[in-house]
């Protein structure tokens, strides 16, 4: 993996004292000091040598985690900089505790060619305070009709291919894309939506869509494509990752397939476990996303999927939109909510504290080595010599979400005013603090 950021000045050193270091890659969980020298994790012995300057960080009561990775983020550049820029999105990531973010290709122009990827990487190197790793499209212009130049895109060092926001409907084309990507060991990510079943659906098809007369988006519309992806992963013997999984049926399919060793995985977004379709009854477009908020039964199934490992990755699907775009009739509003600055708090609060589904250690795995392994990137570890991307987390800090304080350029969050327990308090990229509370 190429680092987007230049290393800091030589001979800089930092020591993070008394924190609970959780490094799943090395099966470490202990209260210990962590040293950073010249932007890399170092042995403590390195720091005992005389240094020109040692920055001391007191991490008593804090968790010292490998820098968190959010592998599902929309940064909107190029093309939609009124919603978000790489610069503002990266700041939002830092404020949320993320040192690495993976951005989706549905920009304008779409990231389906090496020059757009190069532009994004340059822009990220220039303006981004965290690591920004681009993905590219599966199909040209995300149209689902012909393959994007996947080989050249791999050369341009994309970490995965996905048509996120769209879904390749032609199973044959998808099959060939997966087969082709296998040659480059390039993971395939998929937004699972059957266009025929979903139609013009804008909310979960169920009790609330029926009462409110809003076009329904049935769970089967996701489950059908999850099943398709399981079949293709088996057929092509290559990994497919199902993005933002929302339905109970998808959970059953993934669980069964993973038990058989199929190369399939799934990620879960905070809104899909924090909210149900009941939230749409006031037609507030900040509760409109794709896939939609589902029923309590689906939420319960997702929580079980997180607990038993069926869902292995946490991600935000950070999807910024300007206020004027969201302030329209419900079915005319764009899908999506911002998430970078609230996701960690919501997941710690709900998964660790409220429901007790996983411990903080597993939560950190799902944000670090799980996405790092899937995407084959050198990140998500505190091994000696690794680039010093570190997130300090206070798992017991109580705070309230205030959209006015977001670093993101957009405010379309359904969580304004929520009181949460747990958040990142400092974000360190390549040894440098890029954000602290």
């Amino acid at each position: 993996m190429k680092r987007a950021r230049a290393l800091p000045d030589p001979m800089s050193a930092t020591i993070i004292r008394n924190g609970r270091v959780i490094d799943p890659a090395n099966k470490r969980d202990e209260i210990v000091d962590l040293a950073i020298v010249d932007g890399r994790i170092a042995d403590l012995s390195a720091i005992r040598n005389p240094q020109s300057e040692v920055e001391e960080i007191d991490a008593k009561g804090l968790v010292v985690a490998p820098g968190l990775i959010d592998m599902h983020v929309h940064l909107r550049e190029p093309g939609f900089s009124h919603k978000e820029t790489i610069e503002s999105g990266a700041r939002a990531a830092a404020a949320g505790g993320f040192t690495t973010i993976v951005c989706m290709p549905n920009t304008s122009p779409a990231a389906d060619n090496p020059s757009t990827i190069a532009w994004i990487k340059d822009r990220a190197a220039e303006t981004g305070c965290v690591n920004v790793l681009p993905t590219s499209a599966i199909s040209k212009d995300l149209a689902g009709e012909e393959l994007a130049p996947i080989g050249s895109l791999k050369e341009a060092s994309v970490v995965a291919i996905t048509d996120d926001g769209h879904c390749v409907q032609n199973h044959e084309l998808m099959r060939r894309a997966v087969e082709y990507a296998r040659m480059f060991a390039l993971p395939v990510l998929d937004h699972c939506q059957d266009y025929n079943l979903v139609g013009n659906g804008v909310v979960h098809e169920g009790y609330w869509s029926t009462l409110l007369g809003l076009p329904g988006w049935p769970a089967a519309g996701e489950e059908a494509i999850v099943l398709r992806n399981i079949l293709l992963a088996e057929l092509c013997d290559h990994h497919i990752h199902c993005q933002h999984v929302s339905a109970a049926g998808s959970m059953r399919l993934l669980r069964e397939a993973r038990a058989r060793g199929v190369k399939i995985s799934g990620e879960v977004c905070p809104h899909h476990i924090a909210l149900t379709d009941e939230s749409i009854q006031n037609f507030d477009t900040n509760f409109k996303m794709n896939p939609p908020l589902r029923s309590q039964r689906d939420v319960d199934a997702l929580l079980e999927g997180i607990a038993d490992g069926t869902l292995s990755i946490l991600a935000s699907d950070h999807a910024p939109h300007a206020e004027f775009e969201k302030e329209v009739e419900f079915d005319a509003a764009p899908f999506g909510v911002v998430g970078l600055e609230t996701e960690l708090g919501i997941f710690i609060d709900l998964l660790v504290h409220k429901h007790g589904k996983i411990d903080i250690r597993r939560l950190i795995e799902m944000y670090t080595i799980e996405p790092a392994r899937l995407l084959k990137i050198e990140a998500g570890t505190l091994s000696s010599g690794a680039v010093a991307d570190v997130t300090l987390i206070d798992p017991n800090l109580e705070w309230a979400v205030k959209i006015d304080t977001f670093q993101s350029a957009s405010r379309n969050s359904p969580f304004n005013g929520w009181k949460l327990k747990g958040r990142a308090v400092r974000t360190i990229v390549s040894g440098k603090t890029v954000w602290k509370l």
Partner: protein, 316 residues
């Protein structure tokens, strides 16, 4: 002043009428009682009262409609309000202006009451949250059409002198019908038993969670019905996959002359209009003695006067 009831504010304090789901049974009954008073105005030599004199009502119809718009216009005129009609083709929406901006402009022009017909469910809620003006929902997508629901309730109450414990059968395209939703919410609140009848593709089973029954055999439910409300089968909005043909629909669910014989003699036949004669209902049945379809139109005027008076009469 003896005309003021001390509990007026307890019985009605809404500036908007968005749907029947959010109203209490008492609020619905209060509208119906108020409509009684306004219905009586229609029998006078001079059918106009000054209740909303000086108020401006905007009929803002983003989706076309003749009956509902005319009914609101007449209701407003009888209350002495000034009326402006804006349709989708004359509004700036066609020039790319957002609903919010158009509505803000209307408000800046001192529109006191905005009657909104819109193809998107929730559009009236959207406006009501953002405007000081009263917003009256004249039909939003497949969501609600509260004044139609109220006039149906009013007509049943007028003809049968009660609503509780009546068996009301609603036949047709429930899935896409705002009229059905407002009727279901209102009827259940006032204690009626509701049965939905239609093709299984157009009758969502989720409604059973509200306590309504669902049947796909109209002949089984007609004998016990006190009211049969037939919805318009809309060819234009139906896609082919919901049912194979109009002919098969009529054969399975149409209220034919033969089927009408199954009805109790005092069963009311209702239809929100416009009627597809020979499709959901036979012509003779639509014009027969049990039909109260024209009473519905007359009562619509009284109900809309009541709604405009209650929502628009309060100082904002």
């Amino acid at each position: 002043m003896n005309v003021r009831s001390p509990d007026m504010n307890r019985r009605w304090n809404r500036k908007d009428l968005l749907g029947l789901r959010e109203l209490s049974a008492d609020e619905i009954n209060f509208i119906l009682e108020t409509a009684d008073a306004f219905k009586q105005v229609g029998t006078r030599e001079i059918k106009k009262v000054p209740a909303l004199r000086g108020k401006t009502l905007v009929n803002f119809f983003v989706e076309p409609s003749t009956r509902t718009r005319t009914s609101f216009e007449l209701a407003a005129s009888r209350l002495s309000a000034d009326v402006i009609n804006i349709s989708a083709s004359t509004s700036s929406l066609t020039k790319g202006e957002t609903l919010k901006d158009t509505a803000k402009v209307l408000e800046a022009n001192h529109a006191d009451i905005i009657v909104l017909r819109h193809s998107s469910a929730g559009a009236p809620q959207f406006l009501a949250q953002r405007l000081k003006s009263s917003v009256i929902n004249a039909g939003d997508g497949a969501h609600e059409h509260p004044t139609q629901g109220l006039l149906d309730l009013y007509t049943i109450r007028e003809k049968r002198e009660r609503i509780d414990n009546l068996n009301v059968v609603i036949v047709g395209d429930i899935l896409f019908s705002r009229v059905a939703r407002s009727n279901i919410f209102g009827l259940l609140k006032l204690g009626a038993r509701v049965t939905l009848v239609g093709p299984s593709t157009l009758v969502p089973r989720e409604f059973e969670k509200l306590g309504v029954s669902i049947s796909h055999k109209i002949d089984n439910v007609l004998p016990d019905a006190d009211v049969v409300n037939l919805l318009r089968i809309q060819h234009e909005r139906q896609r082919k996959e919901y049912f194979p043909s109009i002919g098969e629909y009529t054969q399975l669910f149409g209220l034919t002359k033969e089927r009408a014989k199954l009805l109790k003699p005092d069963c009311l036949i209702m239809h929100p209009g416009p009627i597809n004669r020979g499709v959901e209902i036979d012509s003779e049945v639509a014009d027969g003695l049990q039909s109260v379809i024209l009473d519905q139109v007359t009562n619509g005027l009284a109900v809309r006067m009541a709604v405009l008076y209650l929502c628009g009469g309060i100082s904002t």
